[in-house]
């Protein structure tokens, strides 16, 4: 029996296959509740005067929520390296677009009509 599973695992590794992880519902419930809590947090935070930190906090909470959705609801935590690389590539290009475009705008003196 162990030889069989070893062989199967070896075959899996050879074919680059991936043990299909099934997330138990309780994890989903926990993440769901956490997301709702963070939503309440972000709404609350917008009522507090934090100066330059307001947008930072808002985005940070957004990033946390998105990360939870990606890792658990979309299953990336248990996914193949390829999937993780794909997610990273998307985020990287997205940040390149926004970052480098904004770099131009932030270093311009003109344009604030």
């Amino acid at each position: 029996m162990s030889e069989q599973t070893e062989h199967a695992a070896h075959e899996q590794a050879q074919h680059g296959e991936h043990e299909h992880h099934i997330t138990p519902p309780v994890v989903y419930v926990v993440i769901f509740v956490t997301l709702l809590v963070f939503t309440a947090l972000t709404v609350g935070a917008s009522y507090i005067e934090m100066g330059v930190f307001n947008p930072i906090v808002a985005l940070a909470i957004g990033v946390v929520k998105a990360t939870l959705v990606v890792l658990f609801f979309m299953g990336v935590k248990y996914s193949t390296k390829l999937t993780k690389l794909t997610v990273f590539a998307g985020l990287f290009t997205f940040m390149a677009l926004i970052g480098m475009t904004l770099a131009d705008y932030f270093s311009r003196a003109w344009g604030r009509w």
């Binding site: 590539a89 677009l97 770099a103 131009d104 270093s107 311009r108 009509w113």
Partner: protein
């Protein structure tokens, strides 16, 4: 030492294999509803050639107008429409899909030992989207054209023209999705459909080049899509996102447009570079020098290509800081391209070189792409760019890389794989003549334009100062010769479909899985799944194969 490596079966007994992907099913619907990547490639080849002919005719009109300094052939507005449609058609309907949609579609599954691409229905959808985009472009031309330049620069395209910006935008949007789906298909296929033993580093470099181009297609094209959506909204609703009077910024469009359009030039050239890797290796009978370097430089071009887009905007009003950063990054992106040229040159060194047509085009590519690429570096230096931008220097630069580079690579590839796709050889002598004619015509057309640019002749102008006429006449003369050079293949390749010599499996004695199967291939490509047990470009393996092979055709 033989002067050709062509090895054809005995023509008196040779036959095209009765069962192949062309004869498998008959009827128009079997082609229009096919999932077979090879049939889709042929559909693309026909459509692309059609649009190339239209784009080429428009180029002819441009050069005719520019024979004289005055606007005597057509009104200035009409001239604007002609060069815009020329650009739109050549970029979006020819160059972007050329090698990937025809040769890539046909060859990638075979090169990796698979039966088809990962998503055949999406492949067919890609072609239909292309056709719809093409029809919209024809509609645009029929209803008066558009005159903003293929770059749709705002606020001209949003506020100042009454022409068909919307239909052209829609056409490009739809054609863009065609490109996205092709790229998506290739990436998935290369990751998931390789046959046993086909590791990444045993893939032909053709596949690596397409992989890199596909990454660009998938990540870059959507940004073009949103740029077009914003133009459409600006034109219809008038919200002001690109209108300074309403607090918008015209440069925002350019940032989004060039974020795609710079990687687009790499989408256009990388597959061509993939072809060159294959032809140079075959016609020097030598494995490509520095396989890993060429493979990684393809990916490097793709990655770096995302960070240089604002070099198209140096004079448009971006900050000096942005100019500096993008200029430096542009210098960086030239390095991987240069690596490839060096590697191909070292492949030639001590190779057993023969001069069949694909090799002639490949030599043309190497010389002309080098010149075009180097002039790109001149333009990347922001100081020089301020003087040379929006002049004919730019026009010459991109025609050297796209026509002298990409189009030559496309022709090299078409000739190289023509025997595989059709089962017949093209006529060698006339094709070599066409290649030489093309090379001469090209240089005569576009080299004077470098000089015109440095002398200060602006681009996109129907009229010019009389002192520029002589060079313009040279350029137009060259264009006529170039036209002949492009017409000839269309004629003799069509001729060869009926009268060409039977090619057999491997007329070039090339390595690669595609040369181990019949010509034309079976619908399912392979009778049984191949197992890859040797490196790419392994000519010793090929020698051993031939020694044990029993020759049979038909």
């Amino acid at each position: 030492m033989s002067s050709t490596i062509v090895s054809l079966p005995d023509q008196s007994t040779a036959r095209i294999p009765k069962t192949n992907f062309i004869t498998k099913e008959n009827g128009l619907l079997s082609w229009l509803l096919t999932g077979d990547h090879k049939r889709i490639a042929v559909l693309y080849l026909i459509s692309i050639t059609f649009f190339f002919a239209i784009g080429g005719a428009l180029a002819g009109l441009i050069r005719l107008e520019l024979l004289t300094p005055q606007t005597d052939l057509m009104a200035t507005d009409t001239y604007n429409k002609v060069f815009t449609m020329h650009g739109v058609i050549m970029v979006f309907l020819f160059l972007v899909p050329s090698v990937p949609a025809t040769l890539g579609n046909f060859l990638i599954p075979i090169m990796i030992g698979a039966k088809d691409l990962a998503l055949p229905k999406i492949n067919l959808l890609s072609w239909y989207l292309y056709v719809v985009g093409g029809i919209l472009v024809i509609y645009t031309m029929a209803s008066g054209g558009v005159d903003t330049g293929w770059t749709f620069t705002t606020p001209l395209s949003t506020h100042y023209v009454n022409t068909n910006v919307m239909s052209t935008g829609l056409a490009v949007f739809i054609a863009g999705f065609s490109s996205i789906f092709t790229g998506l298909n290739f990436i998935v296929t290369l990751h998931k459909m390789r046959c046993p033993g086909m590791t990444w580093f045993r893939l032909p470099l053709f596949c690596w080049a397409h992989y890199a181009a596909s990454i660009l297609m998938v990540l870059g094209t959507p940004v073009l899509a949103i740029a077009i959506v914003l133009i459409a909204l600006e034109r219809t609703v008038g919200i002001g996102v690109f209108d300074p009077a309403k607090g918008g910024d015209p440069l925002l469009f350019q940032h989004l447009f060039w974020f795609y359009s710079h990687p687009a030039v790499y989408i256009m050239i990388l597959p061509g570079m993939g072809v060159i890797s294959e032809t140079i290796s075959t016609f020097s009978r030598k494995r490509v020098f520095g396989y890993t370097a060429v493979a990684f430089s393809s990916v490097a071009i793709a990655v770096f290509g995302f960070f240089v887009w604002a070099h198209h905007m140096f004079i448009m009003g971006i900050s000096n800081y942005a100019v500096l950063v993008f200029s430096l990054l542009t210098m960086l992106v030239a390095v991987p391209s240069a690596i490839k040229i060096f590697n191909w040159t070292f492949t030639l060194y001590k190779g057993s070189i023969t001069f069949e047509t694909p090799m002639l085009y490949s030599f043309g590519f190497m010389g002309l792409f080098t010149i075009g690429g180097m002039t790109g570096v001149f333009l990347g230096a922001s100081g020089t760019d301020i003087h040379l931008t929006e002049t004919y220097f730019i026009v010459a630069h991109f025609h050297f890389v796209m026509v002298g580079g990409m189009l030559m690579a496309f022709l090299a590839g078409i000739h190289f794989w023509w025997p595989k796709i059709t089962g017949r050889m093209y006529p060698e002598k006339i094709s070599q003549l066409a290649a030489v004619v093309t090379f001469i015509g090209f240089n005569l057309t576009f080299f004077p334009q470098f000089i015109l640019g440095t002398l200060g002749m602006p681009r996109r102008y129907a009229a010019y100062p009389p002192e520029f006429q002589v060079l313009n006449v040279f350029s137009t003369a060259g264009a006529t010769i170039l036209g002949v050079g492009y017409l000839l293949p269309i004629l003799y390749l069509t001729w060869s479909l009926k009268y060409g010599e039977i090619a057999g499996n491997n007329p070039w004695q090339a390595t690669g899985l595609e040369w181990q199967i019949q010509s034309p291939p079976l619908t399912e490509n392979f009778i049984e799944t191949p197992i890859m047990d040797h490196e790419a470009y392994d000519y010793e393996w090929l020698e051993r194969q031939k020694a044990t092979e029993v020759a049979s055709v038909g």
